[in-house]
Symmetry: C2
DNA sequence: CGCTGTGTTGAATGCCGTCAACGTCGGTGG
DNA sequence: CCACCGACGTTGACGGCATTCAACACAGCG
């Protein structure tokens, strides 16, 4: 069932069994924390089902959503970065199921299954790249484009086809989108209203449906500066 | 001479010799590119002397400075992230000297010297963390605070004591600072002028001296929002 | 039925980007 | 040596985008 994940491609069955035998599976109800920012990192995780919000809290109490984790992805991999605490909190956006391994097992696991190590480092590399892309976007783009990009990204990573378009597969508020894009819920609300008027999206309570991805793309790429 | 670097602590002499025997040393004159964004990644580097600007170019031709690399730090470590191209360009900010290893040697090197691997991954983890901090700052802070933070960081990482204060050890323009903080050279110029008036910094052509780090810190931490 | 969380919309403020003009420094070549 | 030129820096004026402040609407829930 999980052998199809990109992380596990190229593993032999016995290696998979080896990993699974040492994993713990757990269920995390919606809105609970899987781990907390600055808490001692004692395990790393693989999300089997659900969606997780990775949140950083500033000293002033403002929240920033660093990313969403989707089914099949690793998270909480502080151990692979030589960290002893988690740099952010992980909150279940819906009911979730995840595997976890104790960090003490990391050396043993990677020694036995080198693909686990390489896959983890590739994941970290991708996240570094994505995060740097985000910095570039925040430096160069207007709010409107950033919100459009964020929506497209959500749709691509967690979209579900419906009759009216592609719906984001978990509850998400205007406030959440604002915290992803570095703006306010007011501005997000205004933008979504305007886009709904133009027939690009359809909104709802904790719900967003993108009806015209291409139209959104045009907004995302349309640059006013320069 | 290089055994004192954090990267190499805990290595035996023979391991160090093994690494050095396979390294190539080269000199990069000021303003030359060590490698280019999206170019094929065929080596990774260790900066022995100088300062390097890591730059990302947007499709629209705008530049963003992702970070500065200082002596003793690794850079261009695409291979450790499973990448085949460099995600950014590396430009020598001053005349530089760097060691480099071909990427093909990576498996052999890390197999023989595991500290190289763990040190590299720790570096990547730190950069991911720093980059995410930057996203948080860009989401929550005003321009003034971001520029103050950037200056403090530069001073801390590349500061040189002088009679008047701590000087940033390489030529840096207002434009550079603007590209680090996601603003314009105009705004940076205005801020620096205002700070000079208050006695916090002293400016100059391609030069910045921080005379009152504590005062700058107050500006960096002073939050207007919330 | 009130309360809380969520969402919408209007109006006003202000930060900072944009446009513009000018000044200064340093290198280069005649 | 000096004139020239380009890169770098400064400052003023203006305006727009997004935040801030405010009020209200609506849904879900106990």
């Amino acid at each position: 069932m999980i052998a199809g994940l990109p992380l596990f491609t190229g593993m032999r069955n016995e290696e998979l069994d080896f990993l699974l035998a040492r994993a713990r599976s757990a269920r995390y109800p919606k809105d609970t924390a899987i781990f907390d920012q600055d808490g001692k990192a004692d395990a790393f995780f693989l999300l089997l089902d659900g969606h997780i919000r990775v949140v950083r809290l500033t000293p002033e109490g403002e929240q920033v959503i660093a990313r969403y984790i989707n089914a099949g992805e690793l998270f909480g991999i502080a151990v692979a970065m030589g960290r002893t605490t988690y740099p952010a909190s992980a909150i279940a956006a819906v009911d979730c199921v995840a595997l976890s391994w104790p960090n003490e097992a990391w050396p043993e696991l990677t020694a036995r299954v080198p693909q686990l190590a390489s896959g983890t480092y590739r994941t970290i590399g991708q996240r570094l790249q994505e995060t740097q892309d985000k910095v570039v976007q925040m430096s160069t783009e207007q709010v409107e484009q950033r919100v459009a990009h964020a929506l497209l990204r959500l749709v691509q990573q967690a979209g579900r086809k419906t009759g009216e378009g592609i719906e984001i597969d978990f509850p998400i508020t205007r406030q959440d989108i604002a915290e992803m894009t570095g703006t306010t819920l007011h501005t997000v609300s205004r933008l979504l209203s305007a886009w709904e008027e133009k027939g690009l999206v359809r909104g709802g309570r904790q719900k967003v449906i993108v009806t015209d991805p291409h139209g959104l793309m045009l907004i995302a790429e349309h640059r006013r500066k320069r």
